[in-house]
Symmetry: C2
Subunit: 384 residues, 2 copies
């Protein structure tokens, strides 16, 4: 949050690419540990451990690669004056490149920043400099996301098949001779994703009251006649792009209340999708979803310790991150731009004695005058 936006100021990042999509986007180098990257004009300089050196040469976009071992001797001088190990190495790197001012991401490690400042390097935070570039996806990126969505859809089909094959005994589901648990379905999804070179991460298969806690993954036996939320978001191990889809199923017979809940979420979701286009306001789309639910009599409120109704965003950007801007939510209004990818996933949650939880999620690509729904999975939800 500051006024410096010049691309001429060197941009410094120090992060673990496994969870920091910005540094991975910047460098193209995946690694299990944090490393340092500096964008300076058209050059990209990496400081990586000797362990990563070979891969950095082969796989990264870097124009120059330094190994941290070679910085160690020079770093001693800074360490002796109180800098941290990581800070001292960055200081050597910046000194060698004659850099005395850097922009860094907002989540840059505090101690390194303090070490730099101590030795008169100016450090300015820049909200999402890399992110701004990577929010707009090019065709190659969209194709990679399509691949991840295809794996997500295969996973949904698998869950549908399992629920179809399951029998009902004492209201509980049974499959292949055993009680069918959320954990078992998680595992089946995980195995399937592995076979397509993706990580399922933390699929959600949660029924009944569990489905009303949107980050509860589900545990224990699944029951008939309960709404089961299946939210699957695998990440490709090849290109690291995500897919993210949700369907709600029921094994057995829904009540009228459950039918109305499903139909409402479906209608509101389709309506929200129809509102997505270049220049649309992310917050307004979310407000409309809130209002549509209210209008249908679905109230959102805090009861006891927990929320009921609709209490999460309508959607979120995704790509190399599973959650990235733009958010279709209450805060941080964004004007949508062609090439952005967002999920659209309104939901309603009413635990016992309510009808349960329901969420429907698709992935869309923002275009001029509308959007393209990248996912292509049906909305039949009743499995007999």
């Amino acid at each position: 949050m500051n006024s410096t936006t010049s691309k001429e100021i060197p941009y410094l990042a120090h992060a673990n690419p496994e969870i920091d999509a910005d540094i991975f986007y910047m460098t193209g180098l995946m690694a299990p540990d944090p490393y340092t990257a500096l964008k300076i004009g058209d050059d990209l300089v990496l400081a990586v451990s000797p362990l990563e050196y070979g891969r950095a040469v082969n796989e990264s976009k870097a124009t120059r690669i330094v190994d941290t071992q070679s910085l160690m001797n020079a770093a001693k001088e800074f360490k002796a004056q109180g800098a941290s190990q990581a800070g001292a190495q960055v200081l050597v790197m910046l000194r060698d490149l004659e850099v005395d001012k850097v922009e860094v991401p907002q989540d840059f490690p505090l101690q390194i920043a303090r070490d730099l400042e101590k030795f008169s390097v100016k450090v300015e935070t820049y909200e999402h400099r890399m992110l701004q570039e990577r929010l707009i996806k090019d065709d190659a990126e969209v194709d990679q996301v399509r691949e991840s969505i295809a794996i997500t859809q295969k996973s949904l089909t698998l869950v549908e098949t399992i629920l179809g094959e399951a029998s009902i005994e004492n209201q509980m589901l049974k499959w292949q001779g055993e009680w069918l648990t959320s954990e078992r379905v998680h595992r089946e999804i995980e195995h399937l994703c592995l076979d397509f070179d993706a990580e399922a991460k933390h699929p959600i298969v949660a029924g009944g009251d569990q489905a009303c806690d949107p980050h509860e993954r589900g545990h224990g036996v699944l029951y008939a006649d309960q709404m089961i939320i299946v939210d699957i978001f695998p990440r490709s191990k090849k290109h690291h792009y995500w897919g993210d889809l949700t369907r709600t199923f029921i094994k057995g017979k829904p009540t009228d209340e459950q039918k109305k809940l499903y139909q409402t979420v479906y209608d509101v979701q389709q309506q929200a999708i129809s509102r997505i286009c270049e220049r649309a306001d992310s917050c307004k789309i979310h407000q409309e979803v809130e209002m549509a639910f209210e209008k249908q009599g679905y109230r959102t409120e805090k009861i006891g310790g927990g929320y009921q109704g609709f209490f999460h965003g309508t959607g979120h950007g995704f790509g190399l991150d599973i959650h990235e801007p733009p958010r279709l939510g209450k805060i941080q209004p964004v004007e949508l731009k062609e090439g952005m990818l967002v999920t659209v996933e309104p939901g309603l949650y009413y635990p016992d004695p309510g009808p349960g939880g329901c969420r429907i999620e698709d992935d869309v690509l923002v275009k001029r005058g509308g959007c393209e729904v990248l996912s292509d999975f049906h909305y039949n939800w009743i499995i007999e």
Copy 2:
């Protein structure tokens, strides 16, 4: 790196528990997104999104849980004055608790720190306050690590079985009717780990020259008569502790040079294990390994862009992190303490025309007067 060490100063963390073991250790709450935690005296206050609220109540060690939604209105005031969204929420939380000074970890997000300072909250970095506590493992933690090591060993057995079953055609390995690739073996390991409720993460199965690049996971067909490094480090999905073991195998017939390489690494590794005990110096153990290799005529040097010889640490602490202090390496000397867990994994790497790469890794628990080797996997490496 500063002198404040009083436990009376509230300790503030804001991180993603999936990769930040400190915040997970502090709170017991796993979540897919960053959240805020404040340790203040005996209290632990969490600020989590409404999505995590229910799970935070059920699963975390928190004595008080705030949902970020409820902070949003009050946060507007700070945002209007230039604070970031995350910073504004933390500011509200601290104001409500009348906290005007905090300690934070070294990798605390810079922007939040700056937001706090702007509103007169003192922010001091503290090197590893949580980490100091979690470096010493209690019996329950060691048991969880034993579970993860058992899964690692099952994975090694699987690889051994696959290599045993493989046939050799034109020097290439064939298994179940197909050329046996590193990727195929990765996948088999991943499936096995899933079945034991663990994530294999990024197992290494790398032969020949690939094995000489210690972070190269291996790709393409595996060959006979080449040393194949198999480094497996699964993380339990139940308790999130890691195991980490490496063996080097050869399918076929080793040359005398390869035999000598293996024997040297084995001898040096066993020697290093015998040196681990309470009060031992982590750097000294590493130096002895370096010297032992040198003495056997194995030189370490940078040739062209890459290193040859022994160019990584002898071992590293692990637990909730796969890499945590103490490092058995060149820098950051640590006096080992009873209850620390470390890997012992010297290796030597000489690409073509050299004999290849070899690393042997076990996991040990530091005790008085010695250590307990927690892993129990044989060292037979020649598979015919």
